[in-house]
Subunit: 314 residues, 2 copies
Amino acid sequence: VQFADRVIQSIQQKRSHVVVGLDPVLSRLPAFLLAEAATAHGQSPEGAAAAIRHFSRLVIDAVAPHVPLIKPQSAFYEIWGAPGVAAFWDAVAYAQSKGLIVIADAKRGDIGSTAAAYADAFFGAGSEWQRGLPAADALTVNPYLGTDGLKPFVQRCGAEGHGLFILVKTSNPSSGEFQDQELGGQGPLAAAVARLVDELGRPLVGASGYSSVGAVVGATYPAQAEVYRKLMPRALFLVPGYGAQGGTAADVLPCFNRDGLGALISASRSVNYAWERAGAATPEAFVQATADAAQQMNEEINRALRAAGKLHWA
Amino acid sequence: VQFADRVIQSIQQKRSHVVVGLDPVLSRLPAFLLAEAATAHGQSPEGAAAAIRHFSRLVIDAVAPHVPLIKPQSAFYEIWGAPGVAAFWDAVAYAQSKGLIVIADAKRGDIGSTAAAYADAFFGAGSEWQRGLPAADALTVNPYLGTDGLKPFVQRCGAEGHGLFILVKTSNPSSGEFQDQELGGQGPLAAAVARLVDELGRPLVGASGYSSVGAVVGATYPAQAEVYRKLMPRALFLVPGYGAQGGTAADVLPCFNRDGLGALISASRSVNYAWERAGAATPEAFVQATADAAQQMNEEINRALRAAGKLHWA
């Protein structure tokens, strides 16, 4: 089954357009997780990895009934070396076992032969030597190197059922520095990337009408999202910037198509650290606070879609 | 000591401008390495990681006397999951123990808070929990997200002695698709990135006259390298594309300044797989073939520099 079709089906089942990011920052984990890890491993990379592994599993437990997708951010796992990377892949496999679709947020990008190696790393190489390693469902990638750096990933998005989210317009304050500049007199750089996303994704449109080649379009620039939605009508948008980065439910509306689909709204810190606001001090309280935050986000987005006449299941 | 000063000093000591890339592709490793790994671990991620770990150490043994820098490519290690990442960091630490300066070729790039996490992952976070983890000397990064995605890395390039190589003009065939296009009517996108590299690097110029904020400029586009050399007079250029990708000694000349310095010429496959051409079947023969390839590359580049009147130690 095509990646995009699996995503759309899960969105409809769970009535949720939300992607929960996993951004485990050690200093912001609950005391009970740090104490448990320090007791078992001491203050060490193994201890840190154990803490973020347990944290990731608790967040997954909390949100799996409520959202279709999860997006672990590789950077926060790579900090702890190989044990941290083991925790990253544990989160991928655990989330999949709970029925979640996993976007590895690693923003890889390199020349063709190296891009193929990254595709093998995140989607699997079919090699006996990789036996037992999990694979992500989808990956975020960077377009700076052009088409031949993207093709090795795109080639894995057909029969194998993987998905891709190519950075188009990112959510950060200085994203416009290059992305918004006129390129070759034909609109902004991000629009040129958007046209490439549409072209690469056209052969990979599934029964849902959406393509397995998607785009990253930040929630923080709603006026531009409207333009990019038109340039990439069949692309799933992965939309970061909701919550802690300032994006609101109203801001993400332009990322949806008229069918009330097509946008995957991602929040990390506002869900991961909901336990702080709730003062949760036990695993049970942590899971409850996290689940509440995910459900609240579902409600905010669905309410805004309903008000705009775009709620898919209305 | 500033990163750039350490690099220039090592170039002068070893009379070499060469960076040896580590691109361990399992299917191209010598049979004796695969047999050894399969015997110890079976065909498994641990086995693959053991094979590429030993391969990396042999390449490092071979080239450490002859070149100043080594550049492990993260993708080829990440294929094997956490054990592969352990092999990556083993290569970093082993190379440093042999006096080599290490550029982690990972091409990371993300929004500010995530870029800071990547900086912590590659340069160390100074956290007790990271105890025992090695750190790379320098990192390759992607500029697509703009200044606030680069600053967290740049901030680690001062007192801490780390270095950075920002992608400007990459070596792959479709690098021009975006990088060569006119941006905002002020020259190509890559030139806008080059101006940012120069600006970010200006406060980080060491005693050598070079900055710890460098640039990736491919050997495969010599005419453009000349332009970028002028736009970034103080930047160290990391120059991929030599050898297997088609770049020659003549092609890399424009990457050097008139002082005969400033360019780090990288080759991976042509050195890593020199053993195939030599038919090496033992560790000793492997090391010899690899060392010969590195020395031959030194000679090619130094000869071309001498002919152009640019040999620094002439």
